[in-house]
Amino acid sequence: MVERTPFLNFFTHLILFVGFVLCIAPFVVVAVAASHNLRDVNDVPMSLLPGSDFWTNIKTAWTTADLGPKLLNSFIMAAGVAAGKVIISALTAFSIVYFRYPGRTFIFWLIFVTLMLPLEVRIVPTYAVVANVLSPYQTILDITGLSWLIEKVSGVQVSLSLGLLNSYTGLILPLIATATGTFLYRQFFLTVPDELTEAARMDGAGALRFFIDILLPLSRNNMAALGTIMFLWAWNQYLWPLLITTDQSHATAVTELKQLIPNVGGIPEWNIAMAGTLIVMLPPLIVVVLMQRWFVRGLIATEK
């Protein structure tokens, strides 16, 4: 629709501009604060003109919070979660859409229901499981009396234990299961014409062959979109990494930012904290910029 409405055009641009300023203003404040020295940053009101200590602050933040290894940890975790989510949701959706088996719809709804159970809700049981992955099995053995039986017969006390605290696996694995991704893939797979499936069958391609040769290449855009969203989501995770990494070696950059936040009664080094924040914000920003084209295509369904 092409209309010539100069006033409306101006008005819409005004709204856009106001929205843009509202969104960008906090970041400008962060960037400006990161460039001040200790005295200027604590002025009330803080000067909104950039100071000259930007690089010093960045350097201080980097060394104080030991951001190098932490960024690497964050990256491994976010990439792992994104990749895991993409793979597992593609496989789940493939099974749900392309195979007829009893309870198919039930399983789909079961997955869907987990949308209502985010990690924060089930964090205690999840922690318990990750602390000892085998504890559910131990419980089953105990309740059924099997462990008692085994102890009586062989004299061995059954105590299963496999802890995942302070490991990348523990960081990544509980975050991988995803209803959103499964749903996104399911909707995409449903738009793939049946004839394509049938043509592949006539060509002699089995289920896995079809999945790898036809479905995956076709869902490249969806993969990029889902991967990007999930990378950002995982990068910004706070509660779970905080809980699971009791040891500094596996802490992520986002949780380590708290090292930079001044304690009550300490030196109010907000300039350093802001500089750290800037560093931690950068990688997701780069990912979004790089993936933007694919990302948008993956979320609009009309692309053929």
Partner: protein
């Protein structure tokens, strides 16, 4: 090259039955067209041969081997789909060669065979293109190449021409026919387009409501339709049907309002019949001619080579096709001359053909 034997094949979807016991035999190298209106079960039958649909009851055998439980790839069939079903992310060459890739044919041999198929279909220049960058006819050709490269025993076509424009359809039709003559593989072609069916078929299978109505050469189907359905479905414009009763010396039509005198109908007196007459078999004569029916002209459709004249026969629609240079005005009266030899009789109740004893009258040649 393979024969196909279909025995008592039925198909149920949950509670509804869509194919009610079909028995058919296709000879090796034959080009069979299955014709029928949409929803008559023709595509389902084809897909059961292909192995894309399960067979609810009965057996399908290819070359004497029952294939009911075989996967599509094990049946030696190749299929061309209505909307081509090309893999959008693969180039033309990859599309054509995909089945070979799946079955592990070495790259060198694969490329050689792709080249050979592309040459046959005139696709050499397009091998690197994606399906998106092809026209409808080119896509159609790629779909055919994909079927051809496997050198299948049986070709299955599921309305492959219905997405093309009229001119291209005619062109592809003759190409398919030529291709069949060269490859001589058993082909089963499903369509709802009777012109396509008549021009392509060695043998024609007309289906309706999940049952086979008639099997025969296009000529047989046209000249001796086995039922009222076949009579009205095949031929354009459709055959005129007039309800009537057989009398001693003629035919009482339209509840007695019209009479056609005839020496002998060849049917027992008093039989309720549906008399069919093809529009092209009716002769236009001057109104009031003895032995002709007078009717009012409703509409004249100019076809160039001839014209179709729609007339009103006491409220019953009736059409006449003529290539003579007559141009009756709408509203004017014309006489319709119908010869007994051109009449088809069908039972009023069951719709099946009633065979008339015609002494020494040869079938009209096509």
């Amino acid at each position: 090259m393979a024969s196909i034997a279909i025995r008592g094949v039925k198909k149920n979807y949950a509670k509804t039955q869509v194919v009610h016991g079909v028995d058919l035999d296709f000879a090796s190298g034959e080009f069979v067209v299955i014709l029928g209106p949409s929803g008559c079960g023709k595509s389902t039958l084809l897909r059961m041969i292909a192995g894309l649909e399960e067979i609810s009851d009965g057996t399908i055998a290819i070359d004497g081997m029952v294939v009911n439980k075989l996967e599509p790839r094990e049946r030696g069939c190749a299929m061309v789909f209505q909307n081509y079903a090309l893999y959008p992310h693969m180039s033309v060459a990859q599309n054509i060669g995909y089945s070979l890739k799946v079955s592990g044919v070495p790259t060198a041999e694969r490329n050689q065979r792709i080249q050979a198929v592309a040459r046959t279909l005139g696709l050499e220049q397009l091998l690197d293109r994606k399906p998106m960058a092809l026209s409808g006819g080119q896509r159609q050709r790629v779909a055919m190449g994909r079927a051809m490269i496997r050198e299948p025993k049986v070709f299955l076509f599921d309305e492959p021409l219905s997405n093309l424009d009229a001119k291209l359809r005619v062109q592809m039709r003759s190409e398919i026919r030529k291709l069949h003559r060269r490859l001589n593989a058993t082909s089963v072609f499903v369509t709802h387009d009777q012109v396509e069916a008549m021009t392509l078929a060695d043998r024609l299978v007309v289906m309706n409501g999940g049952r086979v109505e008639q099997v025969g050469t296009p000529g047989e189907i046209y000249t001796r339709p086995a039922s009222r359905f076949v009579a009205t479905f095949v031929g354009a414009p459709a055959m005129n049907i007039l309800e009537g009763t057989v009398e001693l010396d003629g035919l009482s039509l339209l509840g007695g309002s019209r009479r056609l005198a005839m020496a002998r109908a060849g049917l027992p007196v008093g039989t309720k019949v549906a008399m069919g007459i093809r529009p092209e078999a009716v002769r236009l004569v001057a109104p009031g001619t003895a032995g002709a029916l007078d009717a009012t002209v409703d509409l004249v459709e100019e076809l160039g080579a001839g014209r179709v004249i729609y007339v009103d026969l006491d409220g019953a629609p009736f059409s006449v096709m003529t290539s003579e240079a007559v141009h009756p005005e709408p509203g004017s009266t014309v006489g319709l001359k119908i010869f007994p030899d051109d009449m088809h009789f069908f039972s009023s109740e069951t719709g099946t053909r009633l065979d008339v004893f015609k002494a020494s009258v040869p079938e009209p040649a096509l």
